[in-house]
């Protein structure tokens, strides 16, 4: 379960933002263009998705425009692992043009990061933990070959 998020200079989030009070069923609400989907983007970003999976962005486009220091963007997700009852801080920082991944404050390679998250029950490769805005409408328009591809991707 996601407990809280800490976002710094990521997309429309200027400076440091602590977003807490996530529960078993939480809703993110607010006007068009306020930054709700950017929260989802922050979560999929820290969980290792490519920048291009975020509305076709480049890593540099994920940094808040007006960031004083263009190399200090990060997203930190505090994850409560139900089985152990322990809370794991999961972090991804943008350092110049690359990403640094941290679990429990240890700097890891992407491979190690993915493996350790899998041990916590989070499968970042399967991309099955999110539905992006517009995905539902687009499935509704797809043909049988595309539906088959979705099944293949998951398997």
């Amino acid at each position: 379960m996601i407990i809280s998020l800490e976002i710094k200079d990521f997309k429309s989030y200027k400076g440091i933002h602590n977003i807490s009070l996530f529960k078993e069923f939480s809703c993110v609400i607010g006007p068009n263009g306020s930054g709700k989907s950017n929260i989802l983007d922050a979560i999929i970003f820290v969980l290792g998705q490519k920048a291009s999976a975020i509305r076709g962005s480049r890593l540099s486009e994920l940094v808040y425009f007006g960031a004083a220091d263009k190399t200090n963007t990060y997203v930190k997700l505090n994850f409560l692992h139900q089985i152990s009852g322990k809370i794991y801080p999961i972090m991804r920082k943008i350092v110049n043009t690359e990403s640094h991944y941290y679990l429990d404050d240890r700097l890891l390679s992407y491979k190690q990061f993915a493996t350790e998250l899998a041990e916590l029950g989070i499968n970042i490769a399967s991309k099955n933990f999110f539905i992006l805005q517009g995905d539902v409408e687009s499935i509704a328009m797809q043909n049988p070959k595309q539906i088959a591809d979705h099944i293949e991707k998951v398997s």
Binding site: H17, F22, K23, S26, C27, I131, I139, I147
Partner: protein, 173 residues
Amino acid sequence: RKSLFMKAFKKISKNLTSIYSELTRELEPPFHRGSAHLALEDNVTPFNAGVKFTVIPPNKRFQEMDQLSGGEKSVAALAFLFSLQGFKSTPFLILDEIDAAFDSVNVLKLVRYVKHKANRNLQFIVISLKELFYVHSDSLIGICRERDSTSASFSLDLQQFTESKEAEQLLVQ
């Protein structure tokens, strides 16, 4: 490759049938349900051909997907995406405006579905513009724009308030 595909296909197909039935079950007696079906177009090399996705909303007769209404297609598409997610378990689901095409009845059916599924082992974080939906959540994360156009957030615990009678009734059924 074929056996991987078939293994996934069978599980997803099973998920889809049960999820769509649950998601479309009427809110009042006699609680009619819709039915959904995935069919392989080519049994020999399944991943090369297509998978035919068909649904029948409650009380309607069979029609191709493209003849269904916008809301009916949306419910079907959502059921399909949920069935993909059920294939590999995940501790949380983050959903962005999945209810855009839903009328108030479909929104309530979605609330019923999420409230039944959400627990410590499957957390739902849902972005929604519909008050009819988000009033039923345990907490709200409110996002707004500052004067300089950057985002600000506020959180509100809804569990400190008592649930309305209608909300309780929705879940009992």
